[in-house]
């Protein structure tokens, strides 16, 4: 029952539309739109609560209890914060490039939304089942770079500029090890379809067969979404808040929430690629598949937050050095080793 909750809802909707006499093409389109809107709402609300989760995690790690005044256990805290931010003016600096400045926060949620459309949340729960799913996901993930750059450049502020320069440098150089680390998985599966990648993990998660790849992927992904220890982009003790320095009100809130959306994305991707997606481990299938997916995703999100509240920030040259000198060679070696392993396994007829 719970297992097929969402697919049943979708089926119900389809039947409803069918019985209303809607032609099949329109039926599909409507359903897709509904799915996308559902995903958007999911991302937004999730980002909202993730902010709260972060604050709670931070609080608990710092011997305090975090927000607890608004709503039960402070559950409505970030909702109120966003309400406050919406009601605020967005100050536009005089010398800013107004179009870029305003466009950046408006666009910042587009890549996460588009990525989530391709991620299978559970058994048969994927809005867009693409053949090149993985490729699509990575291509869109790198789009964020441009949006941050737009914000940083448009602000016409030296701190923002420095921050957005760092964004570009960081994202470009960490994209490479991230994709290379996934290459091993693609080699094993032989497909870039995310559903097939999950299916290939039926017997064994790729975190077991590709542990180094997982490590590299995770590190690079943390860097990709600008989280400590790679949060140089906003490194608040150095460049105030990087590209968002000049933003206030909802503009700031959008960037802020987008950060959590991107944490969700990398966690969802890591779950899909390495942790078996919605597959239930140890045959615990009584828990619905989508719940497994979210469970794994939130564990990873917690780990990312755990990192943030433990580690100091790395320096910009060290970041580059780490990316290019350690992660890239390591991921290349991983691809190489995977190739050899596959060759040997095939040779012995596994």
């Amino acid at each position: 029952m719970l297992e097929n909750l969402f697919t049943n809802i979708a089926g119900l909707l389809r039947n409803l539309l069918d019985s209303a006499g809607v032609p099949p093409l329109w039926n599909d389109v409507t359903l897709l739109v509904v799915k996308l809107v559902a995903i958007l709402v999911f991302i937004l609300i999730n980002a909202l609560w993730l902010v709260l989760m972060e604050r709670k995690v931070a609080g608990y790690m710092q011997a305090r209890i975090g927000p607890n005044r608004v709503g039960p256990w402070g559950l409505l805290q970030t909702t109120c914060d966003i309400g406050k931010l919406i009601s605020k003016e967005i100050p536009i600096p005089k010398s800013a490039d107004k179009i870029l400045f305003l466009l950046a926060p408006a666009l910042v949620f587009v890549p996460p939304l588009m990525i989530f459309a391709a991620i299978p949340f559970g058994k048969d729960m994927v809005a867009l089942d693409l053949n090149i799913g993985l490729f699509y996901v990575f291509a869109l993930a790198s789009l964020t770079t441009i949006i941050f750059w737009m914000g940083g450049w448009g602000s016409n502020n030296k701190y923002s500029l420095l921050g957005s320069m760092r964004v570009v440098a960081q994202m470009v150089s960490y994209e490479l090890p991230m994709i290379l680390s996934v290459l091993g998985v693609i080699m094993l599966v032989g497909s870039m379809n995310l559903t097939e990648i999950i299916a290939a993990q039926q017997n064994m998660w790729f975190i077991v067969t590709q542990p180094i790849a997982f490590l590299i992927f995770f590190i690079a992904a943390v860097a990709e979404c600008n989280r400590t220890p790679f949060d140089l982009v906003e490194g608040e003790s150095e460049i105030i808040n990087g590209p968002y320095t000049e933003y206030g009100g909802m503009g700031f809130a959008m960037f802020f929430l987008a950060e959590y959306a991107s944490i969700m994305i990398i966690s969802a991707m890591a779950t899909t690629i390495f942790l078996g997606g919605w597959l239930a481990p140890f045959g615990l299938t009584f828990i619905p598949s989508w719940l497994w997916f979210f469970l794994k995703m939130y564990v990873l999100i917690f780990v990312v937050m755990w990192f943030r509240w433990t580690f100091p920030r790395i320096r910009v040259d060290q970041l580059m050095g780490f990316g290019w000198k350690i992660l890239v060679p390591l991921s290349l070696a991983n691809v190489f080793v995977t190739g050899i392993g596959m060759y040997i396994y095939r040779a012995i007829g596994w």
Partner: protein
């Protein structure tokens, strides 16, 4: 043809990493610092001038406002200078109370410096965990003096109040817990590889330059100079305690930071010994001091080792009840004098690390 240009950027006065209102005008080449011109004075209140229109006693609360993180030591320094001027004797119990409260204040200041340094390089948790212990210390100091930060505890020829009932036991308990807390900082901050990567080999300072530029405190000792006034020129009763002076090797940011962490352990040692010894000493906490204080004509310079470095008070008396001149040798101010040279060639992120390792308090820099 590629042409690059340097540009200037204001680092502060409103900036999260300047520990207050302090400005550095940076000339940058990309992210690399070509020149860093410190601009201070945003918090200048003219305490030296104010002191001239106050009586000797009335200056004490003003000294609190300089290094507000270790104001006990500031009180002590000023009081010592006036005592030297007048040739006052301090009763033994008062000396012990001064040492205990002063070391506790130093501990509180160092704990804060450690935490803030963690924050400067991006580790927020270390910062707040340090505050947890500082809170306990401040509670104790509040119990002793009535205030949490600006104590005004020292008096000429003694201290304001005796330790309340059970205070020493509470302090002893905190000192028992303290090594465990410091281990926690070591695990969370000092031992962290990212932290070490950020601070080791950064902002190096040779012992010769450190001496030449009159740097003091952990900044000087981090460069390997064993010069701590508590050992070099034991004032008060510091010759009765057994402690070591931690020194660094390379004079980089890490050494300066680590000196502070090790100094905390020594402070704990001193306090433990002092608690042990004060139990046997009973007596007045204030010497015989006339109510209307009129030191003889002359001047005196007394210095103590504050948490930031050598804190000196130069007091000139003209025979009236108000000081003719009070000058404070503020360690933060003088330690800051070498910032420009120290940060040249490093990145912005390193400037934050360097500034944090000097451990300035703007109330003291600007006085």
């Amino acid at each position: 043809m590629l042409r690059t240009e340097t540009y200037t950027m204001n680092f502060g006065p409103q900036h999260p990493a300047t520990h207050g209102v302090f400005q550095v005008v940076l000339t940058l080449d990309g992210e690399k610092i070509v020149k860093a011109e410190p601009v201070c004075g945003y918090l200048h209140r003219g305490i030296e001038k104010l002191a001239e229109s106050r009586t000797y006693q009335q200056v004490i609360p003003y000294t609190d406002r300089m290094d507000y993180l270790a104001s006990m030591l500031q009180n002590w320094g000023y009081v010592m200078a006036v005592e030297k001027l007048m040739g006052l004797e301090v009763p033994e119990r008062a000396e012990y109370l001064r040492v205990i409260s002063g070391e506790l204040s130093r501990l509180a200041s160092h704990v804060l410096a450690t935490g803030v340094y963690a924050l400067d390089v991006g580790g927020f948790t270390g910062f707040l965990l340090c505050f947890r212990e500082r809170e306990r210390m401040m509670d104790l100091l509040e119990e002793l003096t009535g205030s949490r930060m600006t104590f005004s505890y020292a008096r000429f020829g003694g201290v304001a109040d005796d330790a309340p009932e059970g205070w020493l036991e509470k302090l002893d308990k905190l000192m028992d817990d303290m090594p465990g807390y410091i281990d926690e900082y070591d695990g969370l901050i000092t031992g962290n590889e990212i932290f070490q990567a950020r601070t080791k080999q950064v902002g190096g300072l040779s012992p010769e330059t450190a001496i030449d530029y009159s740097l003091s405190g952990p900044v000087l000792r981090g460069s390997g100079i064993n010069y701590d006034l508590r050992k070099a020129k034991p004032y008060s009763i510091y010759d009765r305690f057994d402690f070591e002076v931690p020194v660094g090797k390379n004079g980089d940011c890490f050494d300066r930071y680590f000196c502070r962490v090790r100094e905390m352990r020594q402070s704990v040692r001193i306090i433990k010994q002092a608690i042990e010894q004060i139990k046997e000493i009973d007596g007045p906490i204030k010497g015989k001091v006339p109510k209307a204080l009129k030191p003889p004509k002359g001047d005196a310079y007394a210095e103590i080792e504050s948490s930031k470095g050598i804190l000196g008070f130069y007091v000139v008396s003209d025979g009236t009840n108000k000081p003719h001149r009070v000058h404070v040798r503020r360690p933060s101010f003088i330690n800051l004098g070498y910032l420009d040279e120290m940060s040249r060639g490093w990145l912005i992120a390193d400037l934050v690390a360097i500034l944090g390792s000097i451990d300035i308090v703007l109330g003291e820099v600007d006085c």
